[in-house]
Assembly symmetry: C2
Homo-oligomer: 297 residues x 2
Amino acid sequence: MVAGIGDDCAVLRLLAGRDALVTTDFTLEGIHFRHDWHPARSVGHRCLARGLSDIAAMGGEPVAAFLSLALPRGLPQGWIREFLRGLIGLAGKYGVVLAGGDTAESPAGLLADIVVLGAVPKGKAVLRSGARVGDRIFVSGGLGGSAAALAKLRAGAKAGAREYARHFYPQPRIELGRILRERGIASAMIDTSDGLSTDLAHICRESGVGAEISEALIPRASAGRPAREVELDLALHGGEDYELLFTVSAKKRVPSQLGGVRLTEIGRIVRGRTMFVRNREGRLRKLEDRGWEHFRE
Amino acid sequence: MVAGIGDDCAVLRLLAGRDALVTTDFTLEGIHFRHDWHPARSVGHRCLARGLSDIAAMGGEPVAAFLSLALPRGLPQGWIREFLRGLIGLAGKYGVVLAGGDTAESPAGLLADIVVLGAVPKGKAVLRSGARVGDRIFVSGGLGGSAAALAKLRAGAKAGAREYARHFYPQPRIELGRILRERGIASAMIDTSDGLSTDLAHICRESGVGAEISEALIPRASAGRPAREVELDLALHGGEDYELLFTVSAKKRVPSQLGGVRLTEIGRIVRGRTMFVRNREGRLRKLEDRGWEHFRE
């Protein structure tokens, strides 16, 4: 429940027996989007999707969002309207109330900071730190689709929202995250916002474990027209897919899809602190954390 | 209680029977501060003080803060260290945990967005909308001290942090706000972040009432060296004092100070939607909402 919008603070009442989840994410012009690459509606959608995906990665449900928005002079009203349409459209889909925020004039470029508040039953949030040696590693959907769009844009080509939907209009895995938590399937979980190698490294670091995954098992996204599988490097290191990466204890059964999303086993948690990847010839090499760096002009 | 720092979200557990309060505020270089005017430590302090003051204005207690920080290339490490020292110093004073946030590279100038999460007993948040005709209007401390510093800086003069403490190191009125809520004294409350005329207009609009205040009663801040009372216009319209402006029903007793802060009755709530100010000759004129505009270069 939300009250007090337009007051000094928003007042929120969570159901009894719930923990609150809070996440905050910047969307900065030139860092997270470019006017010549991203339609306004996509920028608004992605702005909120980043926060919703963090809630999904805890197994939580989103409750309210707060948008701080600094606009440069001369930004057309039509752009702002479309931006808000993208953001509010996604919020509506998940029943998220836009409960407040801040506005200012920006000295240079559009700046947005989105805060999403969510809820999860007390003590039940799925952390990054719960992976144990022997757990299997799963990922939802396909990887590298978002990075494929960026690769194309960087090369000076056009990338349409329909062929590269995962880049322009990513759907956060809220329902999947909730089911994985409710059924006690995921021992640790994170969303793939920075790329598989970096996000898996986060789980390993927080859990004090290593990992071993197989190239051949990684579900690569299909993107482009005609649609085809993205290259391995994009699936290993490309960010902003907003899929869920999670670990599952050896004995638990995992269906091949949940909440309408395909789930793929890609490897397992091992002793040590190192990540390895097995190539198609069966040879192991160290998997470097080549984390997603946001594009720059 | 706060857990899950360094995870996708921070996980927070409020005491049972509490509502959550959420507020978010930008601090943008060139809009809210200038490097040649504000020491780094003051910028960090003010950044958090804005959010804490919003919590105070609801009668709440702050729990956790989230800092999103975008830094331009080349900003010296020493500056950032001092900024964080100012922010964390103030957080420590009120037992606020810095529980997360986001970082990015800024395309231009330092950008910060602070989120403060607070708590208040269920249904007890003091809103802007509770003022009733006949209520008396009070303000804490003195007004115009922060604007006096800006006036001096704008004129090209120096303004020291000691002579203009309310500008450089404002102390949010957390304790006062809590006492006013606990004792059921305040019927409506807001903090004076935008200036008396604008903040009183917020209370009037949200409560559907008018107001009448007296010039002679307005507590003007002392600032400068030698310290002297600021001009009336600064007290009426200058922002960023972070005092509490509140209304009290006619019968309630209000002490002349609470929690170590002076309280001054400056007028009363009247019918209608208009704000009036009485000058020293007893004549009433309309009080324009000349809201605080942040300085621009």
